[in-house]
Symmetry: C2
Subunit: 121 residues, 2 copies
Amino acid sequence: MRYSRQRELIANMLKNRKDHPTADMIYASAREIEPNISLGTVYRNLKQLSEEGTILTLETQDKKIHYDGDVSRHSHFLCDKCGKIIDLFQPAETPKELNQLGLVVSSEKCVYYGICPDCQK
Amino acid sequence: MRYSRQRELIANMLKNRKDHPTADMIYASAREIEPNISLGTVYRNLKQLSEEGTILTLETQDKKIHYDGDVSRHSHFLCDKCGKIIDLFQPAETPKELNQLGLVVSSEKCVYYGICPDCQK
DNA sequence: TCGTTATCAGTAATGATTACTATTATTATA
DNA sequence: TATAATAATAGTAATCATTACTGATAACGA
């Protein structure tokens, strides 16, 4: 993969913020620094960076993909009402500790990613 | 919520199958029994049923929502290559046990849902 | 049985994401 | 350092899963 100023900008922006922005939010921020960057470029690079493992994705109920520049091991809390995303770093991931953070948890979704036995052949 | 033949059909179909179909897959199956059911009806009812907690959703990388009629506590394995979804019932959710199932796990995503402190006020 | 209204079928609209194309920028190599 | 090969880009059009809309139908309490 070749170097590109646009990709570097996008990656750095994600590393320097603690929220979980969508593509259009990143596009808006990137425009302030690189006024001619296009939305397609943002999408393409977000896809590349996430496939590389440089950033993470978070598929939520709002039909938009949220991106996370923090690839350290942590989970997320998603508010069913306002859609807010809260980082959960260990060891705050037991029902007790979640309650102590003031979070009322109603459900939990855990997904593992990798290669299945069929595709390993 | 009123009774509807269409909603009952959709719910029953999901309860009776062990895969994780998308809306259009459910639409196709439903058409075989209820030939005039519309795609909009399928989407509307899937949304209602999942908001109720009768069924679960699984947001994957393929941009389609997958539905699961099994609401018992379990996780999922998602193959990065073929997109296959595999149910993981406890206690098969430790790295060791996942390996014993022949699954090479490269990453893991855990999300909790509920109401955040702000929205509880 | 009747009135209210949730639900439906069918279709149009939405909107996030991807594809396309001519141009520009990176990088390996002479 | 100049050059050729080709990723990557900006700008725009297309895709397609999902939602919204509308007039007709069906559930169900009174």
